[in-house]
């Protein structure tokens, strides 16, 4: 904990900057680095301006925000449940969001209403799992986890049912949403703002989270008000996940693996891990999205495929190398 926090964060920040520059510079249509700079300075041709400012930049920022939100939410969920297998979706959040979004689509609604409905679905799922896990007594992490997993399975069934009974003309939109994609996330700013806010918020909460990771009794004995802190984490993680899912559909893997990778390398100080997750998660998704749109262009790959293909070997290598 006394180890410098600045160095790793500076390196990760540099990496995310490089990833974003690459992402804005690379595409199925080539724009030279000089032209990218020119466009950013307010110059360049019409086509270049459209490509860089209206397509690539919002998409890059949206990918960064989504990746960052998911990774931070994952790290928080893992501390909350004290289970390294927890991820942002484990408590049925993405299922609830998907049901919300698909309901709106079935009703033939679009755009903003689908996003709002997804967000409402995610929050409903959150409250439902928490309420059920609470039951008549107090909840424990394992009870919360079990409730979440079962509820998630229930959402899965509802999604399948909805896909089976919805009219054929609604299917492409629904499947597209379920696969997750950052290409239609038009306004990344609210998500980026939330990400920044959370990174600032964890500075004062960070040490309490470190203590909480040792178990609730130990944390309470060391002066942490466990229940309020757990509520805060839960609501925060849900909010982050709901925002990410609303923006880009459900993109797996980032929230599970990024926090782990960082823990293997940087230790488990949440004051370092959480901002590092924001940077590394964002970087991973920006890189993955860049690959997804250029590897077999003009065909576009679902970004979740790439995150898994990039993340799995990296993770396994780190795990193999670690003690």
């Amino acid at each position: 904990m006394s180890r410098p926090l600045i160095m790793p964060l500076a390196i990760l920040a540099l990496a995310s900057l490089i990833a974003m520059v690459l992402s804005v510079g690379i595409g199925s249509v080539s724009v030279s680095p000089g032209d990218v700079v020119a466009v950013l300075m307010g110059d360049g041709s019409n086509l270049q301006q459209t490509l860089v400012l209206e397509l690539r930049l919002p998409r890059t920022l949206a990918a960064f925000a989504t990746g960052g939100l998911l990774a931070v939410a994952g790290a928080l969920m893992q501390v909350l449940l004290r289970n390294p297998l927890a991820d942002p979706y484990v408590l049925g959040l993405s299922g609830g969001a998907a049901v919300g979004a698909l309901l709106a689509m079935m009703a033939g609604l679009g755009g903003f209403i689908v996003s709002g409905s997804a967000f409402a679905g995610a929050l409903l799922a959150t409250l439902m799992v928490f309420g059920l896990a609470h039951g008549t007594g107090s909840w424990t992490p394992s009870r919360l986890l079990l409730t979440g997993v079962v509820v998630a399975a229930g959402w899965g069934a509802v999604i399948t049912l909805m896909l089976a009974i919805s009219p054929a003309q609604r299917l492409p939109g629904m499947l597209y949403w379920l696969m997750g994609d950052v290409s239609y996330a038009r306004s990344p700013w609210p998500a980026l703002g939330l990400l920044l806010l959370v990174c600032l918020l964890v500075v004062p909460l960070g040490r309490s989270l470190n203590v909480l990771a040792r178990g609730p009794m130990q944390a309470a004995a060391l002066g942490v008000s466990v229940r309020p802190l757990e509520w805060t984490i839960y609501i925060l993680a849900s909010l982050l996940t709901a925002t990410a899912v609303t923006m880009a559909g459900s993109i797996g893997f980032v929230g599970l693996v990024v926090p782990h990778m960082l823990r293997l390398v940087l230790g488990n100080d949440q004051r370092l891990i959480l901002p590092a997750c924001a940077l590394a998660g964002g970087t991973l998704l920006v890189l993955a999205d860049t690959l997804a749109r250029v590897v077999i262009a003009p065909e576009q790959l679902p970004v979740g495929v790439i995150t898994a293909l990039l993340g799995v070997p990296t993770f396994l290598y780190l795990l193999y190398r670690s003690r």
Binding site: L55, G111, Q169, Y176, S183, Y184, E299
Partner: protein, 302 residues
């Protein structure tokens, strides 16, 4: 360069019939307008010169409208007419490369109401390119779509002629089979899972056109999933199937194991090249003729 106006109708998809689009008088002599199948009216200051067709069916229809040489972008599987294979692709109809599309600078995008994700069409509109969404569900819809596309592309001469040729062809078949003996028909869209069409589907309408009686015509869903048992129970007199690719009778062989079905007993298992009936385009006329011919064969074996 372009302006386009919206007129949202609340009838949504039901607006397919609003074919005979409102012609708006305009100060601009060259302005062309048409209403698409979502009920939006699209107006171009001048006929489109660079068209992007975001479904294989749309590509065929634009060609049919006489605007083939104006097509600058297509999507995967746009394989008809052959000239379409030389046009740059912008990815699949569910996941488009917007960058590539923007680079090709279309001044009109032909969308597919139920095939393209709404988010992507929205993104294209946000970039200032008008999107004309189509989805022909009737024979008249095919002719009418060709006419509207030719209006937008300024090729009305060719387009209206082709539309009329299709309209006439279908009318002739309708007349010819008006009094034909009904034949109970099962049409197999897909093998695993087993899928068919109802009477609302365009293929279902081809069956009716040819004097067939679709054994699953009353089902609610446009493309219902069914069990093999229900096919045996329905006991169709003719089974028609497509298949993966051309001249692939593989899907029909499963029915040979059930001699109890009238279609098997009378050897009425027919292959229809899916490319002729699967898309709502002028090739459907050719497909319908083949379809009717097969049903004639079945009647002859009575």
């Amino acid at each position: 360069m372009l302006t386009f106006f919206w007129q949202r109708s609340f009838n949504g998809l039901a607006m397919i019939g609003a074919a005979f689009a409102l012609w708006q008088t305009s100060a601009l002599a060259d302005q062309v307008c048409a209403t698409d199948d979502t009920g939006s009216e699209i107006c171009l200051e001048q006929p489109a010169s660079r068209v992007a067709a975001l479904s294989p069916g749309a590509t065929e229809l634009v060609w049919a409208a006489g605007a083939g040489e104006k097509v600058v972008a297509v999507v995967s599987y746009s394989d008809y007419p052959e000239a379409a294979l030389d046009v740059p692709s912008v990815g699949s109809h569910t996941r488009m490369d917007l960058e590539r599309l923007v680079e090709l600078a279309p001044d009109l995008v032909i969308g597919w109401v139920t095939g393209n994700p709404p988010e992507q069409l929205e993104a294209i509109r946000d970039l200032g390119v008008p999107v004309f969404s189509i989805e022909p569900r009737t024979f008249e819809g095919v002719s009418d779509t060709i006419e509207r596309l030719s209006t937008l592309a300024g090729t009305e001469g060719e387009g209206f002629a082709e539309a009329e040729r299709f309209r006439q062809g279908i009318a002739e078949l309708a007349q010819q089979y008006e009094t034909a003996e009904p034949v109970p028909v099962f049409y197999q869209v897909w093998d695993e899972p087993l899928m068919t069409v109802n009477d609302e589907h365009l293929i279902g309408k081809v069956i009716t056109l040819c004097g067939g009686a679709n054994v699953f015509g009353d089902l609610d869903r446009l493309v219902p999933r069914i069990s093999a048992e229900s096919v045996i129970g329905a006991n169709p007199e003719a089974i028609l199937a497509g298949g993966m690719g051309e001249e692939n009778r593989h899907w029909l062989t499963r029915w040979e194991a059930f001699p109890g079905i009238a279609a098997t007993a009378r050897d009425n298992l027919y292959f229809i090249p899916p490319s002729l009936v699967q898309r709502p385009t002028p090739r459907l006329l050719q497909g319908s003729r083949l379809f009717c011919q097969k049903l004639d064969d079945a009647r002859a074996k009575r």
